[in-house]
Structure formats: C-alpha cells, structure tokens
Amino acid sequence: MGTAAAFEGEVMRHLDAAYNLARWLTRNDADAEDVVQEAMLRAFRFFGGFRGGDARVWLLTIVRNTFYTQRAQTPAAGAVDEFDEAVHGGTDDDDPQAMLLRAVDAQDLRAALERLPSEFREVLVLRELEECSYKEIASIMNLKIGTVMSRLARARARLECELTPAAGGQA
C-alpha cells in the first residue's frame, strides 16, 4: 500500500497541532522545528506499527516524548503526580478574586503561560488550544484521567494567579 500517501493523509495533516505543542514546550521557533522534524521522522518510522486510532493523539504523544528525550529531561511524571495528589487537600485557600479584563491582554497571557512549569503549560495547551478531551490528554501525557483534571485545576489556578492584578506584579 502507499505508505507515504497514508502517512501524508493520516499524520502529516496534524502538523500544526504537532508544531503548536512543540513550540509551547520549547518556547522558541528553532527548537520547536527540531522537535517536530525529529518527531515526524520517528512517526514515519513507527507508522507501520500504528494501528488505527487517533493519529493526532499518537503524533502529539511522539512530539512530547521527543521533546523530553531531546532535553534529556524526564518530566518526572511520577513526582508531579504525587505532588498533585498531595496538593489536592488544598493549599489554594485563596479567596477567588474577580479577574480584571485588563490583565487578559494577549501579550501578558502569552508570557504568563510561558512562565508556567512545562507540566502545567502542556496540559493547558492540549486542553485549551488543541481542545483535547481528558482521555486524549491522559493518553498523550501518560496520566490517569483523574490526574488530568487535578493537573488542569492547578494549572488554571496558577495562571489566574499570575494574571490577577495583585499577583501579576510579583512575577
């Protein structure tokens, strides 16, 4: 069968999603392109073993793994998970403040998101920009679905904190 044509039709069409995740993980254009190129080569190499399913999820998983492999920096998923569970109990006792639209300027938002630790940044990128379901995020990040929810909760709380006028100056 036309492997190249199938790869083009099923995987290559998710290039934007792959680049978006890589760009938010690396936070610069050159590294993002490196990660995507390497991920695409890996994807092509393993395409024979890809048996249906969601090609976008499969590709994003490879992009993420490629990023962490290239950085030789394991995401220490286990440690973060424990951290999430431990934190469940709620250190976030802050009274919710009404966010001011002033803070939600695109530049500030971009900068605030880039300042987030990568494990929070990636879960927000996958949820809000790629609009992945919890199940898809769980698959890409190799997490349990419950952990996806708690990770998102922490990520949103951190970002909102960054964006509220009172806390914004601190960063």
């Binding site: 190249a4 092509f44 929810m149």
Partner: protein
Amino acid sequence: MNCRDARLLLHAWLDDELGAADSLAVARHLQECAACAQRLRNHEQLRGALRGAGLRHAAPAGLQGRIAARLPRAMVAPRRPRQRWMPAAAALAALLVAAIVFAGWQTLQVRRQEQGALVAEAVSGSLRALQPGHLFDVRSTDQHTVKPWFDGRLDFSPVVKDLSAQGFDLIGGRLDALAAHRVAALAYRRHLHVINLFEWPSNALAPGGMRTRDGYHVVQWNDAGMYFVAVSDVAPADLDAFVRAFRATPVAAGEPAR
C-alpha cells in the same frame, strides 16, 4: 458537596467531562456558594482569553517541505524490518521475469524453427509429389475410394471431403512423412494447379496466416485433434478459398463413422 470537592469538579464541569450525577451536584453547589461561582467565572474568563488570544502557533510555511525532504529516503526504503527483504525480492522477481521471458523467447524461436522446417518439408513434399508417379498412391476422384485406401496404412483415419461443388476436385491420395509423422496427403486440383493437403493427428497448435516459400503458399490449421497443412502454387486467394471450403464442408453423409 463541599467547596473542596467542587473546586476540583468545576474543571470537569467546565470541560464538559462530568457525569450527570456530579453535574447536578456541582450545579446545586454553585447556586449556594458564591466563592465557587466566582471561581467558575474566572475559569471561564481564562478559557475565553486563552482561546481568543491567537496563542496557537501554526507550523511555519516551509516546515512540511523540510520534513518531506528528510522523509523521502525513508519513504523509498522504509526502515521497517519487515521490508528489508524488499530489494532482494524485487531483484529476484526481476530475474524470474527475465528467465520466463527468455524461456518464452527461446520456445518461440524453437517454434519458429520448427515451423520453418515444417513449411519447408511440406513444400518439398509437394514438389516431390509432382515427380512422375509420385502424386498418388491411390488415384481417385471419389472420397469413398480414397479414404478406405488409407485404412491399414495409417494408424488414424484421415478426413477426406468432396469439394467438387466448390471447384476443388479430389484427384487422389498418398502416404507421406512430415515433421516425423506419418501423414495422409490428399491432392485436390484447382484448374491446372494441385493443392496438397497433409493431415495427421496432433494437438500442436497451428499458426494462423499464410506463409510463402519457393513460390508455394502454405496454410495450417487445427480441427478436431487433427493438424492440417495445405500447400499449393495456386493464387493465395484460391488457397484461402480451398481452406475455407474444406473446413466448412461436413464430412460426407455416406461415410462410415470411425
């Protein structure tokens, strides 16, 4: 539902990932708890901001091309182990095809040579027959005389037809040898020309068309397990007419079926 649980489930609610029962519980809590209601509004505002700020990076224009440029080698010869044998298999297949083509060509050459030999033999057989006294072993215009004559002289019963109505008179028959076969040779006359018809049982496929050698025309065909060769110096059209007449004419009714 307390605030602690609600604070977490608000996200699943916002993300449309909450089951019906939990959704109902969260909805009730939100009606009672102003703080959680404010949290939800903050999350909604954040979502609106993230999705509306053009934060999604699109792949640079040339990226797909640059990836494709790195893929082709992989695309031509994918590095998947199960395809490593592909070049060898392709070479083997090519070799096999070449061998088959060569064998076929050789067979064709042999066939051509055999055909050439057969035509030459048929022509010389006809020439030989023209020698005084060689044309007939049995001289008769009657197929019912000619046909029985072959019985006992050949191990098959030749097809003998009366074509006088079509302008081809049977003048006799003889034994001959052609292509290492003992064959029946019939002689028909068309005006002043003789048409020699050789026939023997064979499953060999006769080539179509007319061949010409030394001024003699040769036509070959198969019919009911017999191989026929007609040789004559009549005009090609007359020889064709003879072949058509011979093939179209049924064996005479009075002839004993053998």
